[in-house]
């Protein structure tokens, strides 16, 4: 089996300065600075097969972006190494860069003051693509994304959703073999999210690139990802299928109940506790309503992230 992405004990530590409050501490900072180390990613081993779509989930600051940056060669690892398509990412060889693409949902990568169509022409030159082929590709992708009508408007005049669609086209123009999507649907309305999700699903099915996707919207992950990586405080804590993760934690049930004359209450309990819980509750008083729900993936992840942030 060949792996598109492989890491061996890769980690990254960041350095920063500690700064206390107040004027005097600022003055002191002129000559005396306390260095603070923060481990963004603990040594991690990872193997991703070619054509696999991996959903990377974790709370803010858990290390998702650090991992993506390491794998795209933007930052160097503190320890360990990575191989992406057989290249060491940090060398940033031209052949490597031509095969990957990184989409940052929170940043513009196309040019602000020119039209997307001009941006694509420029990208075609940067990636040394055939011009007509590139033009046809833009046509095809924009048809799929329902956005042909904005191709000739300056980027800065477009809405957030349209801009994101433009960025997606830009990141796919050179048919990358490895695609990193960092929050591709962030801040978009539900319709736009749906269109983009549908599009990405269609695209990866047809073209088969290796994809790492991060998102705060679990719909993105459930719909697109074959495999789920859960990252917490710089360490991988789950690696497996989405279903597997839900099953593992499925013991959790949400119970909503209401006593007469009291406000509604909610509890989360495991299946094994269910019996005992029912007994105690029915002895407490007159129940007015009672509901048990199976948890879905979204919920499981949420409670996971919540627990994690409480621990922090």
């Amino acid at each position: 089996m060949s792996f598109a992405i492989e890491t061996h004990e890769i980690s990254r530590t960041f350095e920063s300065y500690k700064k206390s409050e107040g004027l005097w501490n600022s003055v002191k900072g002129l000559w005396d600075r306390q260095v603070v180390y923060k481990v963004a990613l603990k040594p991690t081993n990872l193997k991703i097969e070619a054509g696999q779509i991996v959903g990377l989930v974790g709370s803010n600051g858990a290390g998702k972006t650090t991992l993506l940056k390491l794998l795209s060669g933007l930052i160097s690892p503190t320890t360990g190494e990575a191989k992406v398509l057989g290249f060491n990412p940090f060398e940033r060889k031209t052949e490597f860069l031509k095969k990957i693409s990184l989409l940052l949902g929170q940043k513009n990568q196309l040019w602000w003051d020119i039209t997307p169509i001009d941006s694509y022409a420029l990208l075609a030159k940067i990636y040394d693509l055939d011009e007509t082929a590139a033009r046809n590709k833009v046509k095809e992708l924009s048809r799929l994304l329902h956005c042909e009508h904005v191709l000739e408007t300056q980027l800065r005049r477009l809405s957030l959703g349209e801009r994101m669609k433009m960025e997606i086209i830009g990141s796919l123009l050179h048919s990358p073999e490895v695609l990193y999507l960092d929050e591709p649907t962030i801040g978009l309305d539900i319709v736009a999210q749906e269109i983009i999700r549908e599009f990405l699903n269609e695209y990866v099915k047809n073209r088969g690139p290796t994809v790492i996707l991060t998102s705060h919207y679990m719909d993105d992950i459930t719909k697109l990802a074959d495999r789920l990586l859960l990252i917490s405080k710089g360490a991988l804590v789950y690696d497996g299928t989405v279903e597997g993760f839900v099953e593992k934690s499925e013991n959790l049930q949400i119970v909503t109940y209401k006593f007469e004359g009291q406000p509604e209450q909610r509890s989360e309990i495991t299946k094994t506790e269910l019996n005992r819980f029912l007994n105690t509750i029915s002895s407490k008083g007159q129940l007015e309503s009672f509901k048990i729900e199976e948890t879905d993936f979204e919920h499981v992840i949420h409670s996971f992230l919540q627990k994690e942030s409480r621990l922090l």
Partner: protein, 270 residues
């Protein structure tokens, strides 16, 4: 990497700069013409006052018209040979981490901004030089027109050196915050060193020689002195020489700063 691909994309960057600067027409016109026009008028008035105060026909062997021509050309040439906008943009790119978007492309950051700067300066030259050409002709001020092409070659050659300095300073943004203040320092120093304020030959001989030994005099004094007939070919050639030396120095320095900077670069928003 094939050479044609390299040329094609750099021509693309060149055009990108032309297009995106013309996009804000009004700003571009103010920047490239209104500002130097006002400023050259202020300088020319100063020279008239100096000649009036000196009650002389000539200063350092040249008549008032020579100084008016110098002042007029100098402000426009200085506008071309200084790099504010793209240097600030390069620094900001590194400060904010949006450089990430460029690093993952199969091209170098160096060529990306060099071609853009040249594109921007190219369009600025074409549009802004209309004014000194018209005024010199109307006021019949001394200018050797046949010398203009060679002077322009030196100006653009020097511009590559200017870009090299910008590249070094922006690389420092990997190590320090807010290096834009360095840009201000550098450009203020150049203001004096290039000869924008007055022809360098008005200074005492030894100071003048020191200034001429530096490449910065190619920013204003040498090309403008050359087209207005203050200096001859040998000084122009000397300018090419000093610029070449300067270019080598900033290239080496820039190469190391960049390599070290990228290595220690943490990437923001981890």
């Amino acid at each position: 990497m094939s050479f044609t691909a390299f040329c094609r994309r750099n021509l693309g960057f060149f055009k990108l700069a032309v297009a995106s600067n013309l996009e804000y027409r009004l700003n571009f016109l103010i920047d490239s013409t209104v500002q130097p026009l006002v400023s050259s008028v202020v300088e020319m008035v100063l020279w008239m006052a100096i000649f009036k105060g000196a009650q002389a026909v000539e200063i350092a062997g040249f008549t008032q018209n020579y100084y008016l021509a110098y002042a007029l050309w100098a402000t426009f040439v200085a506008r071309i040979t200084v790099n504010w906008m793209y240097e600030f943009r390069m620094i900001e790119e590194i400060d904010t981490g949006s450089i990430n978007g460029l690093l993952i492309r199969p091209m170098s950051y160096f060529e990306y901004y060099l071609s853009q700067l040249l594109g921007y300066k190219f369009i600025t030259t074409i549009i802004s030089f209309i004014f000194p050409v018209i005024f010199i002709s109307l006021l019949e001020l001394p200018t050797v027109w046949t010398r203009l092409p060679a002077a322009l070659v030196l100006i653009f050659y020097y511009l590559i050196f200017v870009y090299g300095m910008s590249f070094c300073i922006s690389s420092l943004a990997f190590f320090f915050n807010k290096v834009n203040s360095l840009t201000v320092t550098k450009n203020l120093a150049l203001w004096l060193l290039t000869g924008e304020l007055f022809p360098l030959d008005l200074m005492p001989e030894n100071i003048k020689n020191f200034f001429l030994a530096l490449p910065f005099s190619c920013g204003v004094y040498i090309p403008v002195g050359y087209i207005t007939g203050r200096i001859d070919h040998s000084v122009l050639l000397h300018g090419f020489k000093t610029t070449t030396i300067g270019l080598i120095i900033v290239s080496v320095l820039g190469f190391f700063l960049w390599r070290k900077g990228v290595r220690s670069y943490a990437g923001t928003g981890a």
